[in-house]
C-alpha cells in the first residue's frame, strides 16, 4: 500500500501540461484515446465502514494507466433485488501500472452501488476507461492545498500522491461528519502531507474555520493551487478565496451519466466562462474543471 505511484494528467483537447511522468515506475505515455472496456478481476473488496467500500481490481491496460481525477464506467452486477441497467461512474482511487491494479472507493447509496457491493473476490467485472480529464498541477507549483469531503477524499488521494511524486508539497484538509468517517488519512500521511482533519462532530468543519485554514496556508506560501471535491459548500468557499487570492484551482464534479465517452450529452453542467454560461460534459470535458469557472449545484 505504501509504494509511490506516478500520475500524469491528460487534458483532452486542451494544452497538456507537457511534463513527463515522474516516479519510480516508468509508464509509457498515454494517448488521450487510450480507453478500453476491459475485464477486471476482484482481488480485494472490503467495507471501510458502514457506508464505504474499497474495491481492488486486477485489470489489463489501459486501466492501470489511469491518472488522478480520471474515472471509469463500471458495469455493476445484478442482485436479486437490484438490477442496475446503466453503468456507474467511479473515480480512480489508486492505479498501479506495474502490478496491473486499479482501485475504487465508493459509497453504497442506491441500486448501482448496492449491486457493485455484492461482487465477490475472484469474480470479474467490466470497466470502461480511463475516462475524462484528470487533475493537473501548474508548472512551478511548490505546494498545493486539497480540500475534500466524504467520498471526494478518495478522488483527491491520488492527486496528492501525484504531487508528492513531483516533489510538490501537499496540505490536505479532510472534512467529514465524524472521526470514524474520515477516509484515506493514511494515504495523505504517507506522502508527508500536512493534514488538517475537520469534523461536523466538533464544529471544526464549519466554513469559517476551513476558511481560516485555507488563508493560513496561503499566507505561509503553501497554496500555489487549490483542489476540491465532494462538497458544494466547500467548492464555493475555495472558489471565492481562490479568486480573492489569485490562486488557480481545479474541482472534480459529478453528474448523472450514460455513455461516459462524450457521446450522449447526458452529463452536462453549466460553467461560467468569462461571464457567459456554457454547458460542458462532465465525462470528457471533465470531470476535473477549472475551479473559477465552476458553478454551484
Amino acid at each position: 500500500m505504501g509504494q509511490t505511484i506516478s500520475f500524469q494528467p491528460v487534458r483532452l483537447g486542451a494544452a497538456p501540461d507537457g511534463s513527463a511522468p515522474v516516479g519510480p515506475a516508468a509508464t509509457a505515455p498515454v494517448a488521450p484515446s487510450h480507453i478500453a472496456d476491459v475485464l477486471g478481476v476482484v482481488v480485494s473488496h472490503v467495507w471501510l465502514n458502514d457506508e464505504y467500500r474499497h474495491l481492488v481490481l486486477e485489470a489489463p491496460e489501459p486501466a492501470p494507466l489511469a491518472r488522478a481525477g480520471q474515472f471509469f464506467n463500471l458495469e455493476c452486477p445484478h442482485t436479486a433485488e437490484d438490477k442496475p441497467f446503466l453503468r456507474r461512474p467511479m473515480s480512480l482511487y489508486r492505479a498501479d501500472p506495474v502490478h496491473g491494479i486499479v482501485e475504487f472507493l465508493y459509497k453504497v447509496t442506491g441500486v448501482g452501488t448496492r449491486g457493485l457491493a455484492s461482487i465477490k473476490v475472484g469474480r470479474t467485472m467490466r470497466l470502461l476507461g480511463p475516462l475524462g480529464v484528470g487533475f493537473s498541477i501548474p508548472d512551478g507549483a511548490r505546494s498545493i492545498v486539497v480540500l475534500g469531503r466524504g467520498v471526494g477524499l478518495a478522488t483527491l488521494a491520488p492527486l496528492a500522491e501525484m504531487a508528492a511524486a513531483r516533489g510538490v508539497g501537499v496540505t490536505a484538509i479532510l472534512s467529514a461528519r465524524s472521526a470514524a468517517t474520515v477516509m484515506s488519512v493514511e494515504r495523505f500521511a504517507a506522502i508527508g502531507a500536512t493534514i488538517q482533519i475537520v469534523l461536523d462532530q466538533d464544529g471544526t468543519s464549519d466554513p469559517a474555520n476551513v476558511e481560516r485554514i485555507l488563508r493560513e496556508a496561503a499566507a505561509v506560501g503553501r497554496a500555489d493551487a487549490f483542489y476540491t471535491c465532494g462538497s458544494n459548500r466547500l467548492m464555493l468557499l475555495m472558489q471565492r478565496l481562490g479568486r480573492e487570492l489569485s490562486i488557480p484551482g481545479e474541482v472534480a464534479l459529478e453528474q448523472q451519466m450514460a455513455c461516459g465517452l462524450g457521446m450522449c450529452f447526458c452529463c452536462v453542467r453549466n460553467f461560467s466562462v468569462d461571464g457567459v454560461v456554457e454547458a460542458r460534459r462532465v465525462c470528457t470535458d471533465g470531470p476535473v474543471f477549472r475551479l473559477d469557472e465552476a458553478m454551484p449545484w
Binding site: P84, F85, L86, Q256, L261, C266, A279
Partner: protein, 317 residues
C-alpha cells in the same frame, strides 16, 4: 450450415451498399467511441442530430434508468451545421464507412435549407429526424401525422440528391400511414423508430426524475413495441426499413430483420456495453451460418406469418 467466413453480410439501403446491417443510433454515437470500436467494422456511422441553430438542450438530470431501459431528455443540443461541417465531418472522413448525417429543423423550409447545407463530401446519406415539433403546426411533431410528414419529406427530398432516410416517431397512433406518407414523398429508407415518450417520478423527493419532466424511453423495454412498428411499416413500404429500439444482441437484430428490417441501429446498448455493435455483427454471422443463410440480407422479412391473420380486437386485449 454455411461456413461463417462465407456469409455475405452486405445489405442494400436504396443505392447504398453497407458492409453489414449494423450501425449506431443517432445521439448514442460520436467520435468518443473510436478508441473502443473500430469504425471500419460498422455498416454505417450515424451522427447525433444537428440543427442549423445553436441549441443548448434541456435541464439536468437528463437521464435516468427505468427497469431494463432508460429515459433521456437531452433535447438536441447542437453547435450548428457550420460547426458540424468544420469539425465533425472531417473527423469521419478518416473512416471508410458511410456517414449518415442526422438533421432536424422546426419547419419544412428550415429542414430543406439544413439538408442542402449537409450535401457535403463525406456525407453518404441524410437521416431526417422528424420527431421534432413543427412550429407551423402548433408544435406537433412532424412524424405524428402523415400529412405533416409528407410535407416535410417532400421539401427535404427536393433539397438534396443524397439518399434521405426518414426517422419516424413511435409516439404516433398510426406509424404505418406515416411510413407510407414518407415513402410517397420520396424517402429512400425509414428508420423505425425514435424514443417513446415516458416519465418517471422519484417517490422519495416527489420530483420528476428528469429535469424536463418527460423524456424518451429506450433500451430493451421498448423492443416488442418497436418490432411491431417495423413489422407494420415493412408491410406497407417498398423502401427499406431500418429497425431501431432496444437492440443489444444479435438475437434482437435477427428478430428485427425477420419482422422486415433491412438494417438495424443500436443505441442504448452501446452505453451498457460499448462494444455491443461488434457483438451484434459477429452474432448475426454466426446465426446465419448456423441457420444456413448465405446472405444476412435474406433474413429481412423472413418471418413465417403467411398462414396467420391479425384480429384487430387484440389491440384491446
Amino acid at each position: 450450415m454455411v461456413d461463417r467466413g462465407s456469409v455475405d453480410t452486405r445489405v442494400r439501403i436504396g443505392d447504398l451498399v453497407l458492409r453489414n446491417p449494423v450501425m449506431p443510433a443517432s445521439g448514442t454515437f460520436a467520435e468518443g467511441l473510436a478508441p473502443v470500436v473500430p469504425f471500419e467494422r460498422l455498416g454505417a456511422l450515424v451522427t447525433k442530430t444537428v440543427t442549423a441553430e445553436l441549441r443548448g438542450g434541456n435541464p439536468t438530470p437528463r437521464v435516468c434508468e427505468v427497469g431494463q431501459g432508460m429515459l433521456n431528455s437531452i433535447g438536441i443540443p447542437s453547435k450548428g451545421i457550420d460547426d458540424f461541417l468544420e469539425h465533425t465531418l472531417p473527423f469521419y472522413r478518416g473512416f471508410a464507412t458511410p456517414l449518415v448525417a442526422s438533421v432536424s429543423a422546426p419547419s419544412g423550409d428550415a429542414f430543406a435549407e439544413a439538408v442542402a447545407r449537409l450535401d457535403a463530401p463525406g456525407v453518404a446519406a441524410i437521416e431526417a429526424n422528424i420527431s421534432c415539433p413543427n412550429i407551423e403546426e402548433d408544435g406537433k411533431a412532424f412524424a405524428m401525422d402523415p400529412r405533416s410528414t409528407a410535407q416535410v419529406v417532400a421539401k427535404i427530398r427536393r433539397a438534396t440528391k443524397l439518399p434521405v432516410w426518414v426517422k419516424l416517431s413511435p409516439n404516433t397512433g398510426d406509424v404505418a400511414s406515416v411510413a407510407r406518407a414518407a415513402e410517397d414523398a420520396g424517402a429512400d429508407a425509414l428508420v423505425v423508430a425514435n424514443t417513446i415518450l415516458a416519465m418517471s417520478i422519484d417517490i422519495e423527493t416527489f420530483r420528476p426524475r428528469l429535469g424536463n419532466v418527460m423524456g424518451g424511453l429506450s433500451g430493451p423495454a421498448v423492443k416488442p413495441i418497436v418490432v411491431r412498428m417495423v413489422y407494420q411499416c415493412a408491410r406497407v413500404a417498398r423502401i427499406p426499413v431500418i429497425g431501431c429500439g432496444g437492440i443489444s444482441t444479435a438475437a434482437d437484430a435477427v428478430e428485427y430483420m425477420l419482422a422486415g428490417a433491412s438494417a438495424v441501429q443500436v443505441g442504448t446498448a452501446t452505453f451498457v456495453r460499448p462494444t455491443a455493435m461488434l457483438t451484434v455483427i459477429d452474432g448475426l454471422i454466426q446465426f446465419c451460418a448456423r441457420k444456413g443463410f448465405a446472405r444476412v440480407a435474406d433474413l429481412t422479412g423472413a418471418v413465417h406469418d403467411a398462414d396467420m391473420t391479425v384480429d384487430t380486437v387484440e389491440v384491446a386485449s
